[in-house]
Point group: D3
Chain length 252, copies 6
Amino acid sequence: MRSNGRGSDQLRPMKLSVNVNKYAEGSVFIEMGDTKVLCTATVEEKVPPFLKGQGKGWVTAEYSMLPRATQSRNQRESARGKLTGRTMEIQRLIGRALRSVVDLRALGERTITLDCDVIQADGGTRTTSITGSFVALAIAISKIAEQHKLPAFPITDYLASVSVGVVNGEPMLDLNYEEDSTAKVDMNLVMTGGGAFVELQGTGEESPFSRQELNQLLELGEQGIARLIEKQKEALGPIALMIGSGQTGRGV
Amino acid sequence: MRSNGRGSDQLRPMKLSVNVNKYAEGSVFIEMGDTKVLCTATVEEKVPPFLKGQGKGWVTAEYSMLPRATQSRNQRESARGKLTGRTMEIQRLIGRALRSVVDLRALGERTITLDCDVIQADGGTRTTSITGSFVALAIAISKIAEQHKLPAFPITDYLASVSVGVVNGEPMLDLNYEEDSTAKVDMNLVMTGGGAFVELQGTGEESPFSRQELNQLLELGEQGIARLIEKQKEALGPIALMIGSGQTGRGV
Amino acid sequence: MRSNGRGSDQLRPMKLSVNVNKYAEGSVFIEMGDTKVLCTATVEEKVPPFLKGQGKGWVTAEYSMLPRATQSRNQRESARGKLTGRTMEIQRLIGRALRSVVDLRALGERTITLDCDVIQADGGTRTTSITGSFVALAIAISKIAEQHKLPAFPITDYLASVSVGVVNGEPMLDLNYEEDSTAKVDMNLVMTGGGAFVELQGTGEESPFSRQELNQLLELGEQGIARLIEKQKEALGPIALMIGSGQTGRGV
Amino acid sequence: MRSNGRGSDQLRPMKLSVNVNKYAEGSVFIEMGDTKVLCTATVEEKVPPFLKGQGKGWVTAEYSMLPRATQSRNQRESARGKLTGRTMEIQRLIGRALRSVVDLRALGERTITLDCDVIQADGGTRTTSITGSFVALAIAISKIAEQHKLPAFPITDYLASVSVGVVNGEPMLDLNYEEDSTAKVDMNLVMTGGGAFVELQGTGEESPFSRQELNQLLELGEQGIARLIEKQKEALGPIALMIGSGQTGRGV
Amino acid sequence: MRSNGRGSDQLRPMKLSVNVNKYAEGSVFIEMGDTKVLCTATVEEKVPPFLKGQGKGWVTAEYSMLPRATQSRNQRESARGKLTGRTMEIQRLIGRALRSVVDLRALGERTITLDCDVIQADGGTRTTSITGSFVALAIAISKIAEQHKLPAFPITDYLASVSVGVVNGEPMLDLNYEEDSTAKVDMNLVMTGGGAFVELQGTGEESPFSRQELNQLLELGEQGIARLIEKQKEALGPIALMIGSGQTGRGV
Amino acid sequence: MRSNGRGSDQLRPMKLSVNVNKYAEGSVFIEMGDTKVLCTATVEEKVPPFLKGQGKGWVTAEYSMLPRATQSRNQRESARGKLTGRTMEIQRLIGRALRSVVDLRALGERTITLDCDVIQADGGTRTTSITGSFVALAIAISKIAEQHKLPAFPITDYLASVSVGVVNGEPMLDLNYEEDSTAKVDMNLVMTGGGAFVELQGTGEESPFSRQELNQLLELGEQGIARLIEKQKEALGPIALMIGSGQTGRGV
């Protein structure tokens, strides 16, 4: 039995609060159970050096945990003077995942930076960051679309992420910290509204897993992601209609 | 006329939400107008090397702003690889101020770290951090007092902080960002419940100030601090009675 | 048609040269086509702080590319003063993968560090590093087993790694650099001798992929890994018999 | 009784030696008792990026202590790889203080960097650095004024700094190290020739202080600063006449 | 008696393998006994800032040891976050030595970077790096000369390097690690084909040395260098004829 | 003709002022013409980790230039966050040179750190640092000898250093900055009172040098060093008698 009486294919209670920051072009506070992440999207009218003059934009992400987001206090990476490998790995993943559903040419020479700051951590902070920052990104892009003539709305599909794993021999959806730390297999999925895979990262450090277990986990994940995307649509309201529409966005 | 029709001797609307973090020994979310800071207190049963074996505890603080706490995005200090001088100056100030009202010997060989993370910034983030973290500190210490026999309750007096400044030729209390950036004189006060000064930092970079102006600013500040301390008492509830009482805290 | 007339399910020419370093406890020079990696295994009779006194060992890895391993020269990470996110991600992956087939308790309080230095890079450096360093690890552990009474031979199964991807619409095995840079889907597999998954990392940044494409890629990968493990067995000679045997290794 | 029989309102013996460095545009060796600081002013015909094209100059400062300026040897900040918070705080203070008496527009697009290197430390190194570097700055600016047509002499007033504190219950001027380390209240003042405050930083970490104590300390400080400014005038000779004169400086 | 029965004036067995890297403009794998260094030369059509617009090129070097090039594993400098003093000293020496035989004006506005990566170390890694990278440099420059009209072949003379030392009271040529670590005097020589000194670095940390000992060591070194240069000529083949010829190189 | 009418075999005017720092165990302010270096010696009753428990001491050095020691201002290494290769090379040289005349076993388990801070630079800062810090070291060791029973006075011989070079085709002693920057050959010598070589570092980056030129330079250097050592003896007074005496030092 999972905590809160959750079934093995159930998500934790989820809440998306939009426009929580008065300065950011897009912002979302996402809660998945006790995991809470503030996602802000910042639009800048410039691109990194490697993209200059190509008529394309860029989407990137940064990820951080507050020192007391966790049970015992973690040293700040600013005090250590460098990012951990874990942080780098996660922020590269978030950026790569979001770019997979953005038409960078339609975005034009702009950079959108998603900042994912974990206020409280109880498992699944990277997947929660992706799900939340997709919404912040969509809000920020809708603001660009209101102000500028874009050739098409640059977001081509929905995107969400969830973890799955084998805990006590049973495949489970959306692991919290306690489950995650005892899981034999741990997998993070990023999928589109169309049901395709964007990222698939499975690890069996404690115990390798079979093709059959993989398939069970993928099915659990697919269902979970479909539900996350419904929640994203609700939170986005009228902006939701623009995603994947190919419209210019002027009418949002 | 100030924004929101505030008088020159009025504080911004203030809100203190306690116990907002499920892991920290003490936590407060403090809002002064649009300035919002999350303060968590972490208790560790050890002291820094320079205090080992002296039977005394330590109180220290760290301060950080989320990248989009401000109008334009700031680079993370973790990505820069080092803290700015401003951050170091602020976190040294917070720690020093809090220690002035803690009996480190009564605390015993423990370290309490206050993390002040600015979620949104609209002026006065350092003074707000001090006012909020005093409350988080009191909660954390009350938990120690419940579990351990202490010789006396280690907090000897209340402590709060506010900014004052001369804006458009007029002395004003609790400056927001817009006021702060046009102020000719800018002063931060940290004072105790007993009305004594703990820190006094005044700067007239744009225009030096006279002894008379100083006196006007100090009077505004004293009144503001008295009101902040009333709010702290409300937020602390029964813990408030322990502060400065010299009691052992067992009965909290 | 692939370069060198390779079929889509064929590995590149592979060569494993063992004991190439006169100091290291285990060493392998692995060549997969034009990708060349020197893997050395260093045994130290100590463990990292988090494992002290638990009677368990540790296996970890470091990865680096020589500056001119690539078409244009890369700045050294030592000169930059920090590791890139890519390097950290890869060395975490190598260590995690190797640990999945090592019984850390049977290893005893020892640390084995695998250094994977890419002498020349033509795609697949991380998978080649895993395949090569497994062999260096086995050699190093066989030397421990010769000198010390171990409760059992600590390597529980074979381990190899290969990349697969969709290039020009066709699933392919063991991508070289040119193929990798035009692949729509890119996946790295780490599998055991028993055919189970240890790591599965698929990315569809350019174009999300379907469940069917995933299955085709997994089949290509499984076959490739089986052939890699045959090569590892040849290179290891008599040591090969100890792997997964549970024997103490004294008799190697 | 203070060491050397000093009265509580007396400065330590003070010596200002000008033009001690053959390369710097301005240089001063200042001694306040056993505290000795070398201040050099460097003029560069460029401004920091944030000021480019605004027709304004910049004045900034750096501060450092030699490793054996103090009783026990301090590790070099260059060897530690970063500046301490204390150093950053002090050099920000020195720069801010000096800018308060410089008309940056009259200076033109130039940067003047004051380097304050503490050769020997016996309390009051930051205040001594300000007092000395004002003189080095004035010399350097007089050289610019000789060579370039400036709209007006850019230094608008004198500036000096001193510490005051409560030691053994008694307010005292210009604390040496021994006094400083036992002081209950410690305050640094920066004031202009006109008697206005530029910086006021008081700390009662050990014991909060009252409004009355503050007033006593301010009076002691005002007198001390007046005497420091007399000494600066003597050291500057004919340059002294230009300060605050608004003249173009051609005639110096 | 030396290991392998070497006489005191004999070099270790030496092997130069050219063009071992498929990407680099010049590459050499040099073996002096058990010391093995990979030297690659990279040509870039730009110069460092301090040389811009002067019509001159630049030659520079970087040096690194693989972690297990030595008997016990060394921490990577990339993981430490900075270069050691030893590495900096060696790479400055290699660059300075090579530049002494390059006509930077004839080279034109290009930078050649020599990367010397020590694969295995058994004494004399810096001298071996110089001897090997001279050959890699010559190959790279011959490629430039084939493609561009140069005013003259930019290499003006041969260059090689060897160590000499006093071991057990006897002057010896080309010390291996064991000899080097017991040597009383240790000297590195860099000389030209014409027999002149480019660098002479002698250290008698354990025991100062006399003028007579110096002379004996210089004679041993001169002979060794002459033999090294013969080997370089063999390895370079037809390119050898261009060195010091002053010809334009078009005909190589 | 050299500046100040110096002959090619003449040292610049030299001044050694001892005991200039009130805290350091030994201190010297050395002036060679316009090159001025403050050398302090710090004694600590501990040794670095690699020497623990061996009954031996350690002597080490640090070197730094004040930012405006030179014609144009240099960025501080503390602000850059790391030491330059030049600094590391120099401080390694100073430490190595001094250790060559110290009996580390007679010193006992103590570390002496020589800090060489260049106040003004006009060529020869590294050789001047060695000559000056030898004196500071001798003073510091004489203080140890006064307080502790040592088996013998730990300094076994005198030590001084000077530069020589070929300027405008002529060998010259003790180059100033202007001479040094036009020298074709540049050599630093460190020699003992007994006339033996401790370090010999010659560089002919601009133009290789012959055996004959080397001999001329060595003769100039030998004479210069003899004169420097006479000056050291004068400055040391009675301490001079202990050097190389093998006496216990109690009677100093």
